[in-house]
Symmetry: C2
Subunit: 329 residues, 2 copies
């Protein structure tokens, strides 16, 4: 049944030794829809599970054009210069339509994507947000088992990918630009509220004073939010990813955050909550996937739809009938 799949124990050992080819293959299995691949990789994930969780997972969000890719490149190279191994992932449920805008073009992370201490992986394409999020979560675990101790997860910054990234990371960095008008314009309030840090990017040249104003405006705005359960006060920093300015300060703050939440136990509590949330989300995905792919139902659903369109039965009654049929022993 396993066909030409490798031995699961050998494979897991190679992964834990940090073998890049093995990691790449593992992620390919995660993203595969073949059930043999899925069974194999789920077994691998169980084996490596005790060796995961040792990285800090940093979510990076912001509108398109804010410079996230450039920041990931500069920030990632800085972390590597300090001796870290950096995994770079993305959550982009739209990447099928847009042809993979995010990380699709690795040229925007030229240094990082050729460094032996970085592993850059684009978002899986052509899935729903739920599917993309679950695959990214599994990929985080694989990267951690392979020894990557800092995971950067980038979001497209539209739709609901921000929440998905928040729910899989320890630290949530919101990147903004200094605008000409209202500093808070266009940024969803909910995302600002989630942020552990706001970085005003492209603070270089003529932009510096605008960036300083934006920093002041956001610092004021953040005061309006209730205190965080983590007891962390989110700072607002200015940076220029392009000119490599302000990058060190960002990492210092993230380390301060880590120290705080490890001391006050929030880190652990937050991780545990996330694990249970991941399980809940996976149950939703799994039961729906069984239901909507059921061969038994296909004809019945088609027939029911016709009755609904003819106003013979309500869509709610039709749904109940289909679920009863599905669950029939």
């Amino acid at each position: 049944m396993k066909g030409n799949l490798p031995d699961v124990h050998d494979f897991s050992e190679r992964l834990k030794k940090g073998d890049r080819v093995t990691l790449g293959r593992a992620i390919t299995y995660v993203e595969s829809s073949l059930s043999a691949h899925q069974e194999f990789i789920q077994e691998v994930l169980n084996l490596i599970m005790p060796f995961t969780g040792n990285a800090i997972r940093i979510g990076i969000t912001g509108s398109p054009g804010v410079g996230k890719s450039t920041f990931v490149e500069t920030f990632g190279m800085h972390l590597i210069s300090l001796g870290h191994k950096v995994g770079v992932l993305a959550v982009d449920p739209s990447s099928r339509q847009t042809g993979g805008s995010i990380l699709g073009d690795k040229t925007r992370m030229m240094q990082l994507s050729t460094s032996k201490n970085a592993f850059v992986r684009p978002s899986p394409a052509g899935k729903t947000l739920g599917g993309v999020a679950q695959h990214t979560r599994e990929t985080i675990l694989l990267c951690e088992a392979a020894g990557y101790d800092i995971i950067l997860v980038e979001t497209v910054g539209v739709g609901q990918s921000e929440t998905a990234v928040y729910e899989m990371t320890d630290f949530y960095l919101l990147m903004i630009l200094a605008g000409a008008g209202d500093e808070l314009q266009g940024i969803k309030r909910g995302v600002v509220e989630l942020a552990d840090m706001i970085v005003v990017n492209k603070s270089d040249g003529d932009n510096v004073s605008l960036a300083q104003k934006a920093k002041a405006a956001y610092t004021n705005a953040l005061h309006l939010f209730p205190a965080k359960e983590s007891q962390w006060t989110p700072p607002v920093l200015t940076a220029s990813a392009l000119k490599n300015k302000g990058i060190e300060a960002i990492w210092h703050q993230i380390q301060d955050y880590q120290q705080l939440v490890k001391e006050n136990d929030y880190f652990k509590i937050h991780r545990q909550r996330q694990l249970l949330q991941w399980m809940e989300d996976a149950m939703h995905l799994e039961i729906n996937s069984h239901f909507f792919s059921s061969e038994k139902l296909k004809k019945a659903i088609k027939k029911s739809k016709k009755q609904v369109l003819d106003l013979k039965i309500t869509p709610f009654f039709a749904a109940k009938q289909m679920v009863l049929l599905f669950l029939q022993k």
Copy 2:
């Protein structure tokens, strides 16, 4: 088993005759979590289904404070003066926490709520958005069978209730205020794109010229969106619900819309699409509700969660195990 439930045929007949007490009870059954109530009302809904669909369903959205309740009151009374019967519903998944901000206080719709040609019903409380949306959909059908020929569905204008209301209505009215700054600020682009009409409310007194400016800005903004499948060009109108200004023009435009989409068949196509979407959503709700309320799983889920927190198994593996256990014959 039916206990003291009325005869389903008698009940449906009384509903179709427009009996208000029967309609009120029917909605109470819709919102009830007792399975006897649910079975009863699903049977009623099937019986009345051929007598539904004759109303125009108008969704009304806008930020809190924009004056939606005042508008519904003024607009509703205008429609009644023209001989219509008006049903007023709301989608507010947060109404439990906020104590039912929307329609909770019927005093804001004093005339309407005491008119014999209006039926005002607050949002069901304490449910998820999916649950609230489904109950509102069922309530629309009940109101239509009871002879209400215009249904107004109000949304809180935060979170995802806007999309839910869009998916259950024929015409989507976005209400805004003229602001001091950027006219497009704070309104989600996605909602503007869905709108069939934008109403700049509170256009009275000193506000009139600001409202005119907002109207111009939104008219320009709407040109940037692609043409609608309905072939309708969304107009921007100014109004003052408080001073009863601009209300007639709004209704005229909605009638023009109706005529257009009935002639070009979009009305029917759109309704049919919605019915199938309702069925799909109901299947999601139903299968998840069976799964997450399964007694068989409760202990197993608890045990699995512990293993997940101990990093013995992945949350994804645990989820698959739970679904297999649930589906086990």
